[in-house]
């Protein structure tokens, strides 16, 4: 036989060892090498000697495959174990799915809002630049157009952009007029952010001025809704208020401005401002964004801007007492969301710990029940390491199932959470269950699986075979497992108490917020907004006439008691403030008086039930022909007229179209929490609508019955006066109030749901632990009963165990809540983190839970038959 044949025969003989899926390649590799060697070398038996290595190679590959085979076998055993005990599997899987699911959902939120970079070019160098009024405690005031030009001289900024937001009525075509959000932006904005229209072009520098015609870019949503996603939309004309503007582009889906309010824009317009507007240093209407120059840290930019601002403040009267502030866009976009999201993340992480502890308790109990089976496996030759690997695989399979169900649950939970959180999730950010969330879930699942496996393995019986086979044997390791179970129960109760306390404190805050006296009566009030911005209302008298006409028609609707008009409705999200001077009082250079302005119809206070403190309300004679008058609120009277009667004093505005005109104070009215229920009333001035005729107005209609019932009649009344005027933002006042603290309520709801789930899981754990200990102590209870112990004393003793375990857990939980309370304090309203009432109630609730959970096992203990128990022993 030729040497090559011998070598090939050897390779063929051992090929059977090589796993099937590798065999073909393996044979081909060896065959090629042997043949080439035989052809090229002159030593006849060299090829045979080389072929002997195939044995070692094949054995090595087989041993590798064996390890995989064992794993696959263990996984299939674990899977069979899981389906053989469906109730147990369901309990563990659902417990874990609950914990993992809410964590996946909250991770999706954290990832979308806090972890991912914002969708702009190099977002870490983008900043908002604000004015501040330190003397007024106001730290974010929009800048003027003049500042935008002025700040170009600063070296710290390589690019600057200007944005002014608002709402406009769009018309044209067959569709009814519609009120939409618009952002007028400088041409520099899109290149600076690194965004561009999907169709058409961005704005040109010439379009920043009135030298070129004003143009607009549609949002993807508006393009689809109003233009049917027409690809030939470029060049078409859209009517905006009373102007015609050409469409030059369509933004991509999801494109949004940074900042907490970004994402609402339906239209992007070119700045299109006159030279006079660009030079205006008094109208603080512009949000300024900037990009830090390369190598310039934030601190250096702030320092340069502050020095510059101090010089400008000394030179320009308009900028006296005006400071500056630079905030990174990421900080600005997510800062209001961060505390809420972190508290919720903390809450669900605690729930995951509770769920994990619960699952561990169940797995430990099952491991204890399987001692017999394991002893048999050992007797049949299973090694300790194989038993460990089996235990690990058991837990991994359960954790994996929990993770899969959890991911589905998380996707659903995320959908339910986002509306609850309101503005904590900026609309400009994409939040959803994606690959990163799946990866997070997979990581949590694996860690949990391994952890459970380790806990179960650590409490495996290590004693001899005979002891393990004797099912009633009580051993040291069983005692250790018992201690571990009790420790897990205590931990669950402690964590549940932390969650319940947090939820209780938030609930307290929400209750207090809902009981705050806003300063007016919100019942039976329907509110909506109108914008008198079309050509028909360009003249002052036409706006005044519209106001009185529409009020008359509204009051004529059956069921309407009063109707009134106001320039910005309480809790409506908008406010207008202005600098004010008091007659006879020289302006104090260190204190600029800033006062909110509201323009109202005469019966506004009556409609809203806002009490007059002194003086008189406005009357029909307070119109353009009469003396200019104003009513101030109590906060303004107390702050700027302390110890004097403000009635008949005169004030004037330091900027704006009617600056310099003196207004006589004719009344003082009580405070209204216009901005938020949690914020004290600002200083305010009310002016008669008939003297100011503001363009943007809200209407409040007081009804005899359910306010929403007259919605259609109200729309008809407005339509009768002007069919082209869209009615928008129609809500009852109670809805506005409830919406104003939606975020606090959402956080409370999420914490409450989490806490209740944690409490339920803890209750189950207490029940399970006590039940298990009663089953273990049946013989002992039997002996005690036989020796004359009363059933009541047995009942109380079992119950005492439940109460003691819960008591220890509650004490630990209370200590943790008090220590962690300050993390929550920023979200609380008129509630301290150490509120004794809330904590006492939580402890009382938890102890009640212990009694309820311990009741059934305690009853079971009293029913032990001494004879049967002793016979089994």
């Amino acid at each position: 036989m030729r040497p090559l044949r011998i070598a090939q025969a050897l390779v063929s003989a051992v090929a059977g060892l090589v796993p099937r899926w590798q065999r073909r390649d393996w044979r081909q590799e060896w065959d090629a090498e042997l043949r080439h060697h035989a052809d090229s070398q002159n030593e006849p038996f060299g090829v045979v000697s080389r072929s002997t290595g195939a044995v070692a190679d094949a054995v090595y590959l087989r041993s590798q495959a064996l390890q995989l085979d064992v794993l696959a076998h263990d996984a299939s055993v674990a899977w069979r174990n899981a389906i053989r005990r469906p109730a147990f599997t369901l309990l563990v899987v659902m417990t874990l799915a609950l914990g993992i699911g809410v964590n996946s959902a909250v991770f999706a939120l954290l990832d979308g809002v806090l972890l991912r970079p914002l969708p702009y070019r190099d977002p870490s160098r983008l900043v908002f630049v604000w004015h501040t009024l330190p003397s007024q405690n106001i730290f974010e005031v929009e800048a003027t157009a003049w500042d935008y030009g002025d700040w170009h001289s600063l070296r710290s900024f390589s690019e600057l952009a200007l944005v002014s937001g608002g709402a406009v009525t769009i018309g044209g075509g067959d569709d009814p007029p519609e009120r939409v959000r618009i952002s007028s932006v400088s041409a520099s904005l899109m290149p600076m952010l690194g965004i561009a229209p999907a169709i058409g072009r961005g704005f040109t520098a010439a379009e920043d001025t009135t030298d070129a015609p004003g143009v607009v870019i549609l949002s993807d949503g508006l393009w689809r809704r109003r233009f049917g996603a027409d690809p030939n939309v470029l060049g078409r004309i859209i009517q905006i208020n009373n102007e015609q503007r050409a469409i030059v582009g369509v933004m991509p889906r999801g494109a949004a401005l940074p900042g907490p309010t970004g994402g609402d824009e339906e239209l992007w317009a070119s700045a299109h401002m006159s030279a006079a507007n660009w030079a205006n240093d008094r109208s603080h209407n512009f949000v300024i964004l900037a990009r830090l120059a390369d190598g310039t840290p934030l601190s250096q930019a702030t320092a340069e801007l502050e020095v510059h601002a101090a010089r400008v403040a000394a030179e320009r009267p308009s900028h006296r007492n005006v400071g500056v502030r630079v905030i990174p866009i990421t900080e600005q976009t997510v800062k209001s969301a961060r505390p809420t999201l972190l508290v919720i993340a903390g809450g669900v992480a605690l729930l995951l710990l509770v769920a994990s502890a619960n699952a561990s308790t169940l797995l430990l109990a099952r491991a204890a029940n399987r001692q017999h089976e394991l002893a048999v496996r050992t007797a049949l030759g299973a090694t300790r390491s194989h038993l460990l690997s089996l235990a690990m695989m058991d837990c991994l399979v359960l954790a994996l199932l929990g993770g899969l169900v959890g991911l589905a649950l998380g996707s659903w939970a995320l959908g339910a959470m986002i509306p609850l959180l309101g503005e904590a999730v900026p609309k400009s950010l994409a939040v959803g269950v994606d690959g990163r969330v799946a990866l997070f879930t997979a990581a949590v699942t694996t860690v949990l699986g391994v952890l459970f496996g380790a806990i179960v393995a650590a409490h495996r019986p290590g004693q001899g075979l005979s002891a393990a086979l004797k099912s009633t044997a009580r051993t040291a390791s069983a005692a250790a497992a018992g201690r571990m179970r009790r420790a897990l129960v205590v931990a669950q109760v402690a964590l549940a108490v932390v969650l319940l306390s947090a939820a209780g404190l938030m609930l307290n805050s929400v209750v207090k917020l809902s009981r705050v006296n806003a300063g007016f009566d919100p019942r039976q009030l329907l509110t909506f907004r109108l914008a008198l911005t079309t050509q028909n209302y360009a003249a002052f008298p036409s706006r005044v006439a519209f106001g009185s006409d529409v009020l008359q028609r509204l009051e004529a609707i059956p069921g309407v008691r009063h109707a009134a008009l106001v320039s910005s409705i309480p809790l409506g999200g908008s406010r207008g403030a202005n600098g004010v001077e008091v007659e006879g009082r020289p302006p104090n250079p260190n204190e600029t008086i800033i006062v909110d302005q509201r323009h109202i119809s005469p019966n506004y206070f009556q409609t809203m039930a806002i009490p007059m403190v002194s003086g008189r309300p406005f009357t029909a004679t307070d119109d353009s022909r009469g003396e200019q008058v104003t009513i101030v609120n109590r906060a303004m009277a107390e702050r700027y007229f302390p110890n004097e009667n403000p009635i008949d004093r005169r004030v004037r505005l330091s900027a704006g179209y009617d600056s310099g005109v003196w207004f006589r104070i004719v009344g003082v009215v009580d405070n209204v929490r216009h901005i938020a229920l949690s914020r004290e009333a600002p200083t305010e001035m009310y002016r008669p609508f008939a003297q100011t005729a503001a363009g943007n107005i809200a209407l409040a209609v007081k009804t005899d019955g359910e306010p929403t019932a007259i919605g259609a009649a109200v729309r008809n009344a407005v339509k009768t006066v002007d069919p082209n005027l869209p009615v928008y933002d129609m809500r009852t006042m109670e809805e506005r109030i409830s919406g104003s603290f939606a975020q606090t309520r959402g956080t409370m709801m999420l914490l409450l749901v989490t806490a209740v789930l944690a409490a339920l899981l803890s209750g189950v754990a207490i029940y399970g632990s006590i039940w298990y200990s009663v089953s273990q102590r049946v013989p002992e209870i039997g002996v005690r009963l036989a020796l004359g112990a009363s059933r009541a004393s047995i009942f109380l003793e079992v119950l005492r165990r439940a109460v003691v375990l819960t008591g220890i857990g509650s004490a630990l939980g209370l200590a943790a809540s008090l220590a962690a309370g300050r993390l929550l304090s920023g979200l609380l309203f008129q509630t301290t983190a150490t509120d004794p009432g809330t904590h006492a109630l939580v402890i009382a609730g938890t102890m009640t839970l212990a009694v309820v959970a311990g009741f059934v096992p305690a009853r079971r203990a009293t029913r032990v038959d001494p004879m049967t128990a002793l016979r089994n022993e």
Binding site: D25, Q28, E29, D31, A32, E33, R35, H36, H37, D39, S49, R50, S51, T52, G53, A54, V55, A56, D57, Y60, L61, Q64
Partner: protein, 100 residues
């Protein structure tokens, strides 16, 4: 992965352009029963990868297609670290020699 002298030499041989099994056996002087299991381990741990020679090239040379091995990026890193260690050991050995 534990870097033995055999695995280090096998990787060095591949790095030096000896790309198929018997060529590596030839240059390292180790038997096939050592080189092949070392190649399997290195491939499993991602230090080398293998690919089949194009059928056309093999036919042109009048032999069956071979399996070629090459170092991956982590293989290159590992071999550099191993060579560094050997150099350090050499330096120590030299110092010991001089001290004598």
């Amino acid at each position: 992965m534990r870097m033995t002298l055999a695995t280090t030499l096998v990787m060095q041989a591949i790095g030096a352009g000896h790309r198929h099994g018997f060529d590596i056996v030839e240059v390292t002087g180790y038997p096939t029963g050592t080189v092949y299991p070392a190649l399997r381990r290195l491939e499993r741990d991602g230090y080398v990868r293998s690919r089949w020679e194009a059928e056309r090239t093999a036919t042109r040379d009048g032999r069956p297609a071979r399996r070629y091995y090459e170092l991956t990026a982590s293989g290159i890193k590992a071999i550099e670290a191993a060579v560094d260690t050997v150099n350090q050991l050499n330096a120590v050995r030299l110092r010991v020699k001089h001290a004598r």
